[in-house]
Symmetry: C3
Subunit: 338 residues, 3 copies
Amino acid sequence: MPSTNAKPSLQLNAQGQLRHFLNIDGLERSLLEEILDTADSFVSVGEQAVKKVPLLRGKTVANLFFEASTRTRTTFELAAKRLSADVLNININTSAASKGESLKDMLQNLEAMACDMFVVRHANSGAAHFIAKHVCPDIAIINAGDGSNAHPTQAMLDMLTIRREKGGFENRTFAIVGDILHSRVARSEIQALKTLGAAEVRIIGPKTLLPKAPDSLGADKVYYDMKEGLKDVDVVIMLRLQRERMQTALLPSEHEYFRLYGLTNEKLAYAKPDALVMHPGPINRGVEIASEIADGPQSVILKQVSYGISVRMAILSMTMSGQTRPVTAAAPINRAPQ
Amino acid sequence: MPSTNAKPSLQLNAQGQLRHFLNIDGLERSLLEEILDTADSFVSVGEQAVKKVPLLRGKTVANLFFEASTRTRTTFELAAKRLSADVLNININTSAASKGESLKDMLQNLEAMACDMFVVRHANSGAAHFIAKHVCPDIAIINAGDGSNAHPTQAMLDMLTIRREKGGFENRTFAIVGDILHSRVARSEIQALKTLGAAEVRIIGPKTLLPKAPDSLGADKVYYDMKEGLKDVDVVIMLRLQRERMQTALLPSEHEYFRLYGLTNEKLAYAKPDALVMHPGPINRGVEIASEIADGPQSVILKQVSYGISVRMAILSMTMSGQTRPVTAAAPINRAPQ
Amino acid sequence: MPSTNAKPSLQLNAQGQLRHFLNIDGLERSLLEEILDTADSFVSVGEQAVKKVPLLRGKTVANLFFEASTRTRTTFELAAKRLSADVLNININTSAASKGESLKDMLQNLEAMACDMFVVRHANSGAAHFIAKHVCPDIAIINAGDGSNAHPTQAMLDMLTIRREKGGFENRTFAIVGDILHSRVARSEIQALKTLGAAEVRIIGPKTLLPKAPDSLGADKVYYDMKEGLKDVDVVIMLRLQRERMQTALLPSEHEYFRLYGLTNEKLAYAKPDALVMHPGPINRGVEIASEIADGPQSVILKQVSYGISVRMAILSMTMSGQTRPVTAAAPINRAPQ
């Protein structure tokens, strides 16, 4: 297990409860199901006239985005506010860096300001894990995407969408399509699907965008051809094509990519008639997915966004609860149980 | 009626209540008066020790400013917070555009995150109207200024100021001075004044800054000379001179503009002795208005700012209420009446 | 007394209570002790599960940072939110300046929006004082650092740290080390220490970074040599070296500065064995302080950060209270006592 994968003991407290959320790998099926059950209970909050619960009132959540992402940051901000937490958006470029402060010093300062949780996005694999282990172990750390390693809240919101739309994972076949090689989303999806009992997980893409040892990620089957790979699947998970990767991937053009791996009605016809179409967003219309499919009846792309709030509310409240539960009999004074 | 003017049916729900606020044009006098009455009731909130009411608790207001405006955004943010709503400030340049996401996709994503209201400012006329009609009809859309088309909340805060300071609109004469041609403020002001019963609305400016068919905007009289135009008026509404328009307007200089159309004591003397002086701000001292008038006893410029919060609280709470009232017998589950 | 130093009467209301917080100079010892007592009572708020008190609910605090400072702004934002206030972060560069609005107009607009407090950081000495005296006297103004003049909340959080760690100021010797000449922190520290009864305050630094008349700041002794200056002191307050000042200070290099004035174990050994090491942050490791000291047992640098929240909560609540208390028998309607 590489050092960028969190050991269960780092993510869990002594009672086996979540205290950081860094990685799907190594978490038990029962814990993933607890996350989905908790998220289910929050779906109704978004449907109420008053979309707010007081669970994290008086807590401070700091969004530490070392890599820009309006969408993910916004969903975490909304999730935290709907739990009544205070939110601090730290623009990393304009703070620490400009005065030459080290990252470690900046994080320990935020800890000293009595922040309770860090939501971390970073271009380097293992960044959130490093912070949880070495810098601020008493702060609940949520990984909002680290390099090409993991994006566990994205995986869990997709699992919630699948469970609510399909009823479950067993006896189901899943296809993940696109740039598997560089995708933190794909890594976390495969781990979550297999842990939750998916019958078969396929990865589909051009050889240049698949890992050299395709089974290294835990997928069951590898396809280079869309029509073969999509045959009779229950769920199609499209990945976003990072345009900046086009050149290194030796892809001739976006047009050519769409012809071969873009999801069209013609290709989707090979999947089961009621197959779900998913995408983590933002979508590149006409590059990895045709507009009529993105907006069509099988697409659950906007539902994924909605469930993303619920899943992040679940992760925030569960890790906060896992941090405040005393690890030993004598709880530290500023981490008292609620 | 051009497509950028909202038809009443788009702004109103089946019960005739406001559900979007896009344009003054086409709204009934009774509805404008209801907005002013509601705003009146919020003026006292700003005077209390606790300037907060729980009307929009648990609602999420997204400020979508495609055109920078600290002042208008700030007043909407304050208005939303004083109604206890959560506020999301979306920096458009750093979000959608950077990942090539379409505007429509970005807005539908915000809708999926259960945002309740969009406050929209855009350089293109008709942008807010387009969003309300074609993109997110179930979100309450507030037009915070679209191109040269409309700025209806600015018009209504001016109406509140006039009603509170002058008692009403009938038997009163109003002059709007400056760059009428490009001014969304002027368009909305004229519509609001005429709807509310103003006896006479004059527009004053150089020919290059007046529309070719001056009565096309609904004004009663057109003047190219300040002293003639200001004679015996009850209210003088100065417009901000957009300096970037100086060249296209063939104006020789700011100094020359001030000499001809800047409001000075000498020119103001032609108006009634108790005439109000108004300006939407930010003011260019010595360009369109002399400092001694901006700070003088007839100026209500800072009162306009104060009443702007009250009017925006009124618009936010009325449109929210108009959206949540069921349009049909079966209310959609996530738009339940409060 | 230069005009940049607030006279007590400007900072206090008729009852002698704090209504602005601009400067330490001229405040009585009893008032500084009241600030520390109030801050002490807020320390426990940061240790509770719900780190929030409703003291400033419905109040609006505007952070006006004309000079970037993520850390100070963040601590004020957290302090205000933990008092339940609404916080407005005004980015000065993108607002007033871009439309050519004068600073005075911008501030009066914020006042008209019913903001209650301004937290002001400005590169010019006397900026906060000027706003309190000439622009918005009815808004509580907190000086968050003005030029090289004063940084009174930094001084008070250091006083709270010293009082909590050392029990008091009398019979204690203090050393402030570094760029005394340009440091608003040093000025405010010396005033606070002397007012609170410190037995001896020393300043230490190269001649180029000390004022020409060293006693002009109120310090008791001046040293150019670290080992002499640190001898038997109880508290060492290191200042941050502004790297942009290196050239004007004729310092040969950071390395040379560290050799002469950087705090190392060897130099610290001259102080008392239980001497505290303090630094306002962010620290330059290896420039003004060795890493093993910053992270060592005598360092209270992170405690300063924690107490900074408590002190700012105290200042915000005390000045707000001092503003809302009626100055005359008839309180103005929008400044009613709570």
